[in-house]
Amino acid sequence: MMAQIVGGYFTSHVPAIGGAIQRGDQQAEYWSPFFDGFPSVRQWLGDVSPDVAVVFYNDHGLNFFLDAMPTFAVGAAARYDNADEGWGLPVYKSFEGHPNLSWHVIETLVEAEFDITTCQKMMVDHALSIPFELAWPDAEAWPVKLVPIAINTVQFPLPSPRRCFALGQAVGRALRSWKGDERIVVMGTGGLSHQLEGARAGFMNPEYDRFCLDHLADDPAALTRHSAEEVAELAGTQGVEILNWIAARGALGDAPLAMVMRNYHVPISNTAAATVVLEPA
């Protein structure tokens, strides 16, 4: 009996998506090109019926602060709550954890010389909640348990794409060696290209986004040839959230994958938005 990775789900997680959902704006002209990608995501999730989601994301200053900013943090809690992120918005649903699987991942990672921070209690932010709201819009409780893995995309120095990919590969090995019968979906959230700060605010880069989307399924190692600084230049200083996608892709294994769906739209808020589902070919 071995756990099975059913595939990967990747999406942008811009806070404004939550606002659009709350207002019921999914079919508004501005939003529909983004939301129209999700029926196929939901159909796929229904088909592969995962029990657990292992999610690579970044915290936006809810759980982590600069007094102790981990490069990589892995949750090992029984439950993860959302909270006010500073704007007084409605608080998102809580997540049920999978502590035993978390500890298995943590032990595998430390053994493989990843110097993670282990979080037996942590809050999670919109970078987790929005992808879940998009995937399971009518759920009273999330249908999957959560293993959250946070990557520092907030404070330089950032881990390199190569290191994030290696982290994902090690997580993938941990998941495939887990002696449970869980069906696991891997998620990567954030991106694509965007920059909120400075004179280059509003920067997006469809060329780099295309490079990422074109190589994600078949040749993800191509994404690891840039340094983190180069990614910040190419994708924008917030577009470095592509690191979460790179790590998630690493967890899906070294073989080329089938692209179940892919959606790309410019802009939502200040961001080039994308959604992708990959599965074993």
Partner: protein, 121 residues
């Protein structure tokens, strides 16, 4: 050093009570967090570029922006010296740079049918 005090103040704004305290006495609240003169001046002037120069990190500054009633488009306009309408138009105009084979929804061939997936369970 990298704006620690300013970022610490902004991080505190995750708490609604702290946001209220800032609004009711901004000077005292900034003093409590020990903002440098440069940081304090940037906050007083609502000058986002100066906050960044003073070490502010945009992930934390976004929480201060919320108090000031600014969303990310407003921030973008302020930082780039555009009107908000112009800034938004610039974002939408970027769509022209997206080729048809990149933009929009593309559905792939599933390698296997739904039934087969469920049987693997």
């Amino acid at each position: 050093m990298r704006g620690f005090e300013l970022n610490a103040m902004c991080y505190s704004f995750n708490d609604a009570a702290n946001r209220a305290a800032f609004v009711s006495d901004e000077e005292a609240y900034c003093r409590k967090y020990g903002l440098t003169e440069e940081q304090r001046a940037a906050v007083a002037a609502r000058d986002v570029l100066a906050m960044l120069d003073a070490g502010g990190n945009v992930y934390y500054l976004a929480k201060l922006a919320g108090i000031l009633g600014l969303n990310v488009q407003d921030l973008g306009a302020l930082q780039t010296g555009r009107s908000v309408a112009d800034f938004k138009a610039m974002l939408v105009a970027a769509r022209a740079g997206v080729d048809a084979d990149l933009g929009g929804l593309h559905l792939g061939q599933r390698a296997s049918g739904t039934a087969q997936h469920r049987e693997n369970a």
